[in-house]
Structures are given as structure tokens and as C-alpha cells.
Amino acid sequence: MIHNNENTHMHAKRIQWLPVRLGWLMLLASLTLAGCGGGASTTPQAVTNTSSSGGGGDTYAGPAPQTQDAQNFKTQVYDNLRGADRCGNCHTPGGNAAGFGFANRGDVNEAYTSALGYVDRTTPANSRIVQKFRTGSHFCWLGQTEQSACAALLETWLTNWLAPAGGGTTTIILTPNTGGNVGTGASFPTTAPGSYTQLHGLLTQFCSNCHVPNVAQSQQPFFAVADVQSSYTAATSKISLTTPNQSRLYLRLVQDSHNCWNLSDDAIAGPNCNTGASGAVGTIATPGTPSSGSKMLAAIQAVVDSLTASQVPVAQTTITSRAVNLLTDGITASAGNRNNANVIALYEFKSGSGVTVVDTSGAGVTQSNLTLSGTAGTDYEWLSSWGVRFLTANGKAVSTPAASRKIYDMITATGEYSIEAWVAPSNIAQQNAFIVSYSSNATNRNFTLGQNVESYRFYNRTANTAVTNNGEPFLQTDPNAKDLKASLQHVVVTYSNSAARRRIYVDGVYTGDVDGTAQGALSTWNNSYALIFGNEHSNNRPWLGTLRMVAIHNKALSGTEIQQNFDAGVGQKYFLLFNISNDGAGNPVAGVPTQSYIKFEVAQYDNFSYLFNKPTYVNLSGQDPSNLRIGEIRVGINGQEADVGQVFAKVSATINAPAYTTANGQELSALGGVLPLSRGPSQDMFFLSFKRLGSGPDSNKDYFPLASTASIIKTPTAASDVMVRNFEEINATLAALTSVPRTTASIGGTSGTYTTVYQQLPPIESINGFLSSHQMAVTQLAIQYCNVLADDTNLRTAYFNNGVANSLVNFGGMTLSSASDSAFTNRDRIITPLLDRVLNVSATATNLTSQPDPTAVRNELRTMIGLLADTTSCPGGSCPAARTTAIVKATCAAALAGAPMLLQ
């Protein structure tokens, strides 16, 4: 036997395989089986050795199990099925299906022997007795419409039986698949085909307000540009050649109602996304019927039809692996090493349909099932990747007090518990949103795990008198830490009546938020409450998001146990082996040893994508490869390489020892990535393509075409030719025009005018943004400059009198201490120096036509001075001497604070 040390992200287990003649075995041995002691176990809480939990009401009185495996079968499966209201009604001697006696009510050993014929020990989900529910309308004790729930429940019981804890190993047989042909596939030619004309017409007509580079609300991709080739290059990634109605160009209209347009050939006023004859928004349009969606789909279909008409086998255009399907060829890799030793209720959301959320814990005498409320598809939806998503405030899952009673009983017995959940909140804005509660209304509860913006909240009721019946004060994660994200997260809250009190763990890590409330017993819990997910019973605490798993333990899990469960992950995972010894047409690939595979860990990530993780080269034939070249791996779906998500496209490896070992193969990348789901896991056929593989020449497929140069060059937009000076230009201009330094304390000082008003001045030059408040600030600043100029002897002398001081206080020789009217006999002595600077009036040059007529301005200023210098306007007909200075300042400011200074 050869061992490897591969530690997968999926289940933290070691993978081993050994060659055998007929196939290969992969032994999944628990990596931490030894280390997972201390209670770690994949077996749920031990159940009583009676059949009462399986319904029926009577006690098993038959022979004891003859083997340990039969004992395990009895504990995990038989006791659950034996009841007369379950399988024991028919699958027992005397029943309608006595020939299939796996629920033989009188003899567990007979039942065990019979069951062995109907179970798949490798993949319990494939067991015939599980598939019976999946494929038909078999009797289901939960109700005939809950076939999926019964299947999920049975699968869990079988898994618990067949994947024992504590040192056991599960043998997984890796059948070396041969894979299928990749088949034909269309691809986009480099040059836009003629069939693109119709689509281009729609895009340029209805999308060019945004999806072009040179508009204010420009939005990539620029597929609405007039240039056909540029448009085509940008649009191809938004068209699905394999499933046209999954094209992003189409879905944006019919799913998101994204800027649909008015149609002339429908009977609807206003934009019509898909509400014409074809049906409601969100449904697939019928090409030809009048709606934006249908017209878009028809145009897309035209492109697809033209390209698929000339499609060729993919293997002719690039180097490919064989094709495989996830469900058919995938090898179950889950049954992660979770710590379920104290789980009392477990919800894995495997059903995928119906209204029952099944408690698959097997713990207690009842199942704490919940019933989904609201309209499927509208208020909630099942995830095929296991989960339930609450879409509106009407979506929730509710249990009953009776069904929830075991939670009360089993938690109050221990005085401690944990709520564990894999959640994906829809957003980080919702407040007071309750995810998992055991309560009666918004003010009475035993416990609640909730969301408030970017924090998790934990309410817990105790006997401590400081704690309300509502479990408050709540403990929450630090809002500044933003521990809650709108992404898949593992959150665990624990409580114990000890110093530890409440704790919150996110993604396996204790958040460090300390419970400020003293510990207390759970003796005040109320057993008339009921479990509820996604809201409160009073319907006023809706939570929008996805639940992928919820587990309730009657133990405060330790940090180690929580980390273990986080590492175990969530959801169904597979190993997917891509045969690369032969290409997509079945031909051997030169230089690649037989039974060469690239193994991926694959899971459905959510309803829209797959997770591909950790590609590893393995050889199952025992031939160690030598210098096997593998370069640039891309994942293809249904004959087409995905346009987005090609995480492995940079992989470049040569398979050789020592990186390669027979036991472990050779890991090609430690990364994982998501790839868009196309037709769903049951139909999607995956293949790999390569730039190089083996000893043959590289693929000449061009994965990096250069785009047309026209697509993102922005063309200019015109604006006004005339602008205003901005704030600092105004300041500098006033300084230049008055000769007053801008650093003058009363201007640029700490409390100077400019320092005070600069943010009130125009921040930009655009004249469209010029406001009256800006003009007020301009005036204020101009007055201050003129103020300094008029009051500073040296400055004013130089400015108004060419530097010649001819009186104590002078402005061009005027005596300002006299009555103001006589002081302004020659007003031009003030005006001329200002206009020379502001209007660039020069004796040796013509006046600027871009400035006002100097004569007109001069006359305005003369008139203003005359009005202000009229002594009759002063009290008693006599103006104070200081008025003369004030008039000079006013004249200066009037000349400076206007458009001649401001515009440029």
C-alpha cells in the first residue's frame, strides 16, 4: 500500500490509493482520526436501542444483532425505519413488500441481511433505498410531497451507519473512467460574423446611452459602440453559445429588468422586458414575441445558429481531455470529519424540493423538522448545492413547540449548547435580522443567532435576573471588526453556564467579543417555544440570505472542535477525474501515459456556479510519467471553454519526480475557482483543454486576442469656452492687480479673509457652477485687498501716484482729509491705475476686445464715486474724513470684484 499526505481542503483527510488489477482503490482515512479524539466523531449522539424513534410505538424484542456492523445498522438505520408508520409497515414479513425486508420488525439480523442488498457502501446516496425516493413516488412518512426529505433523511442514516467514527476507514473505489467525447462545440471567430448585425443593431440602438466609452455614465463592456468589430469583441463574453438563454445580454433584461425599452409592436405602454405574450418577467422569452427580452434572445440565437452550423469537434481546435459529468462520474468526497458527537438537531438542506426542512441528526425521540413558509421561488428557494435561500421577508422555516421540545429537553439537561451554521447573508445592511431562533415572538425567546449590519448577534435567556425574557442584553461581534460578510461563512455561538458564557466564532475563529453578562442557568427557558429560521414568529425580524447547514449541539463546542467543523466544510463534494490519456475525440495523446488523470475537487458552489479546486495529476496504471508537460489548463463546459473563471490557465508543469510521487501524484495548483453553471450538474459535461499536453505541439488556439483599438478611446465632450478663475487664481489675481502680498496677515493669515472664505470661492473654473455665494466671497476678498491697499501708505503711493509721495495721505495727489466731495474732483486719478491693470489698458496698444469697453467702465465708476461723494447723503450734509478712504476702497473693489477680473 502506498500512502500519501495530501490534505484536502474538503475534508481534512488523507487520501490513499493502491493499484489493483480491476481498478483503483482510494482509501479515505481520517487524517485526524487519531487527533480527532476527545469526543470527535462522525457518529451522532447515541440513540436508544429501541425502535421508538422510528415511530410505531412498540419496542424491539427480537434477537440481538449478531455482528458489530449489524449493531451499527440497528442503531443508525433500523431503529429509524422499523416503525409501523414507516418502512416497517410494508418491508416486513406479512407486509406488502415483504420480499424487501430491510425493516423486518421482528428480526434485525434478517433486516440487516436484506438491507445489504440495497445499499451502496461507497456512496450511500446511490443506495437503491435512497434512490427509490429520488426517482419515484414511494411512500414517504413525512408526506407524499416530501420525497426528497425522506431521501435526505435515509441517506444521512445510511451514512452514519456506513461511515463509522473512531478509527474506521471508508474505502472509496476510484473507477478509472474512460470519459466521453467532448463532441462539437462552437466558438467565436475573431472577426465578427455577418449574423452579428442584428444583435449589433439592438445594442447600438438601445444600449448606447451607457455601454460606450464617451458618455457621462459610461459603463463597461462597450458593446454598444458603432464599430461592429469592437462591439463584437466586447459582447462575446456576454453570449452563451451552448445555452443562448443563459446569455448575460438576455438575462439582464428578463431577470434584472435592466433598462428595457419601449416597443412599438406590443400593447404595453413603457418599457417591456418580457411581459408580452411570452409570460412574466424572469421567464424564458419566445423569440419573435414582442418584448425587449425576446428580441434580444432572437438576435443572440441568430448568432448562435450561424456559429453552431459550422461547429467542429472541439478536439480539432485545441487539445482536450475526455468529457465527464459531475453526478455520473464524480466520486463522492464528502462525509467530512465533522464533530457531531453532541449534535441534537442537524439541518443539511439536502432535500432540494418540498417544504420540509428535515432534522437529520437522528438524536432524540423526535425529529425537529421545520416547514418552509412563503412561495417557493419567490420567497425562498432551494439550492441544488444543498441549502435554502430566503429571498423575501415572507420566507422562513418554522417548527412547532412539540417538534422543538427535544431541543429544550436536551439543552436544559446539560446547561450548555452551541448553534452552528453555514450562512451567506444576502447583504450587510439588514438590521435585527434573525437567522436561527428558538422563540415565540420578538420579545420572548430562549436563544437567537441574528444579524445586525456587519455583526452577528447572540441572544440567550438565562436565570440571571439581569437577562430579559428576550435573552438580552445580546452579545454581538464588534461592529468595527465587520466580522459578518455577505459571503458564505461558518458561524458558531456557544453558551455554557460557566465563566466562558456566550462566545461567537466566525470561520473557526473566536471573535474575541467578551460576554458582559454574568453566567446563569437555563432554568428559565420556555418549552412552549418553537424553532424558526429566517424570521421571528411575529414576522418582524426577517433575514435574507442562504442557510447551507444548521446544527444545534447540547454542548459548548471547544475552539478546536469548531475549527474542525469549519475545516470539514459544507455541501456535497466530489473528486472528478479527467482522463488525459485520450483526447476529446478518443484518440491517444502522444507522450501521456495510459490512465493519466487530472483530478479536481469539485462541488456545486451555489445555484449559479461550480467550485473547481486543486488540480492534481495522478496516474492510476502504475506507470510513473517522465517529463510529462501540462500547460495552461482551461475548463470547458458542454463543448465550450468558459469565458470567465479560468483560474488554471496559467498552470505550467512538468510531471516528474520528486514533485511527482506514485502515491500522491503531482499537484498542479493549490488554487480553486468558480466557473459558471450552464445546464445544471446532471447535464453539464466538463472537459479540460490545454495549451500543451504530452509530447505533441502546442495548441495554436489564440486565447489572448488583442481587442480592437477603437473600443475604449474616449472622445472629447465640449464645454463653454469662457470660464471663471478658481479660488486661488482669484486670490493671486487680486494680489497681482492690487500689488498687495497675499501673505498679508489680514488676507492670508490664520484668520485672514482668504483663509476664511477660500472654500466659498469657486472651486473649479466651470462657469456653470458659479453661484451668487461665490460672488459674495469674491467681493469680500476684493474689498479686503483694496482695504490693505488704501490703508498702506507705501503701497498706495506706489499704486496711485507712481511712487511719488506728495502729501501725508494722498491718492494721486488728493487730500483725503478734506471734505470728500472736493477730494474727488479728478476721479480718474483713482480709476485709471485700476483699469490699466484690470483691463490691460495701454497707451501703446489697442484695448482688449475680450474685456469691457474701458470708457464704459470708467463712466460707471465715475458715476458711482459721484454718488458716494455727495455730502448730502451724509448726516447733516457733512461727511467724516474717513469717508474719502472708504470711497477709494469701494471704487477699487468695484473695479476688481467683477467679471473683468473673474473671467478668463
Partner: protein, 409 residues
Amino acid sequence: MTNANLPKKLTKALLSAAVSAGLLLTLSTAADAGAREQAKRMYDRLAGVPPTNDELASMVTAMSTDATGRTAANIAMQNPNFLNVTVKNMFLPMTNKDQTVFYPFNDAAATLVGLVRDGDANPPMDFRQALYGDVIYTGTGGNPALPAYSQINNDHYAEMEKQNIPFSTGLVKQPSQTPFTGVPSAATSGVLTTRQSARAFFYAGTNRAMLRFTLLNYLCSDLEDVKDTTRIPDRIHKDVSRSPGGDSTVFLNTCVGCHAGMDGLAGAYAYYNWNYNVDSDPEGNDGSLTYAQGQVQTKYLQNNTVFPYGYVTTDDSWINYWRNGLNANLGWANNGTQAATVGNGMKSMNQELANTEAFARCQAVKVYKTVCFNEPTETVLGQLVSGFKTGGYNMKLLFADSAFSCRGN
């Protein structure tokens, strides 16, 4: 006398006069401009202040002898306000995250202004150095004397602005950033490794802001402009949800469009950080730039459980996935058929950006908008870019050519 002491009547009167003057002006701006008007406009827009009559006369003469207008423009650019007002205010919004012009003068702005001033110095400064050079400008003079450059405050430059020290003489080009910022010469990357750039774009977060604002400020492209979902997403970190709110279509149609390229390039910043005391100085005003050779900052590894299969940054390597696909249009230098270029560190990555056609176009557009308040036509832009590049990326040429281009008819 203060403003408040001005008689209300006077204030009212001068407002009236100011408005009247404005009305008069509107009648005359539409007229065709002669050489004197053209010179006036060029001067106004380059210096931000009006010319004296003597300067105007000199420009008119220069325009008659030099048909390129560069000689005339140089007269306007001699005015201290060209650097102290026009150029400074063009650059200030580029040095802070809010992109506001009402922001204190700082070492990043000073260095950008210096690079413009010395575009025609000896040796001439190539403006691409703004992105990758070991270059910094500090102040000199002042009364009182300027405080020394500090790694933990901006006092040196704030005082320079307060005293309105003319940048024409008061800015000094230093031989290296290292004695000032502490960043080793090999790790310097133009103004982007100055204290202010680090304070603005390496503050908290994940350093991705540095790339976004470099694109915005120097390539005139926001992330929305360069969104391309078809790029290889293998460098996207673990902190990016692949299924935001449980819906991976959001990632596959939106997030990946920016992150694929951005995370590939932003690896270049892995050793840089803005170091500050989050408790006593949550805004990081008193922090300093740190550079730890060979040590990836923890911000690159945070939130690593959001998508555990994502990329782990182990060094300061970068890869440019935008050379192909839609963003080939940024005009990468020497673009052939290679899938991507790679390198290590900020300097080489910013060289990659600085050598694009988009960089040259962006500077031309910015300058043209600064002095002409408009966007250039494609023809004018082509001429500006051509002159800029053949002139050794001398920014003064862009200012001169732009001002001359929109001098009026």
C-alpha cells in the same frame, strides 16, 4: 479699517458696479480675438493671473516670431503663479483620496510640480519619473525658515504653502528619496512612494486603492473603464467573495472584471504600508510610510476565510493581464502576442503603466483641461501627445501647446 466698517451703501454700490462690469463683458467675449487677446488668454490660463501690459506686449511679439506659441507661453510660465497656483492645483486632487483641491500642499504635489518646472531643465525631467523615479522635491528658504522634512508630518510643505514661497526657486530637487522617506532607492516609485501618497492610498484597506488611484490619476481610467471579466482570475486574493450574498453571478459578471487584473498588478505593493496608531490616530494623519523588503504586509492576508481557495501573496510579484483583451487599448509599450508581463515591485509595475499610450494621453488631457477648461479634440490630442512624447515627456510642452491650442481665433 475692516470690511465690516465699510458703509453698507458703499458695499451695495460696488456690487452693482461689479455686476455692471460683468454684463458689459459678456458683449465683448464673443468677438474674434486678435494677437493681444490671444496672448491675454494664454497668460490668464497658464498663470492664473492677468498679465501686465509689458508682459502682454512681449507675448504678442513672441507669437509673431515663434509660430508654435511656445516662446510666448514661456513668458506666461515665468509668472510664479504658474507653478504656485495653476500647476499646484492641477496636482493637489491627485494626492488625496477625496480628490479635493482644498488639500494641504505636500511632498507628492511638490514633486509633481517640480517635475513640471524642470521639464526643460538640465537635465530635463521626464514626467514618467512621477511614477517610477527615485525623485522628491523639498522646500528651501522661508522666513521663518521651513521646518525640516518629516516622515511623520507635513509641516515642511504646509509652511511652504503658508508663506507662498515661489516654487520656481523654492523647490529643490533632491538626489534621492531615501534620506527623506526612508524607502530604499530600488523601492522608490516616483511620487507614489512619498509620504502623502502612502498616507492617502496605503492607509488601511488592502493597498488596492493605490492601483485604482494610479489608474485614475495617471491613466485617466477608473476601474469601471478597465473591467474585463475574461481575464485569468488566478491572482484574486482570498478576501474576495466568489459568491457575494450567495450569488456567484455577481462575482462572475462584475467583481472578477476588476479584481482579475487589479489583484495581479497590486501585488507590487505587497511590502508597503501606512503605519499609524489606530487607537490614538484613527485617521492616520501622524503615520508614516513603511517598506519591509521581503515581508508581505498582513493586510494582504486578511479575511482569508472568505474564499479559502484564493491566491496567497508571497512576494511583491505582479502580473499584467490587461496587456490583452479589452485593455490592450491602453496602449502598452512593446505589446506583442505575449499573454502578460510580469515583474517584482512597484517601480517596474509603474514603469509598465507609465509607458502606456494612455499615460501620455492622460497627461495631455489633464493639462489641456487645466488651461483650456475643455477636452481636446482627437486631432488636438494626437498633436499634444506627439509633442509630449517627442519632447521627452516634458510637461511644460503640454502646457505651452495646450494654451496655444485654445488661445482663440
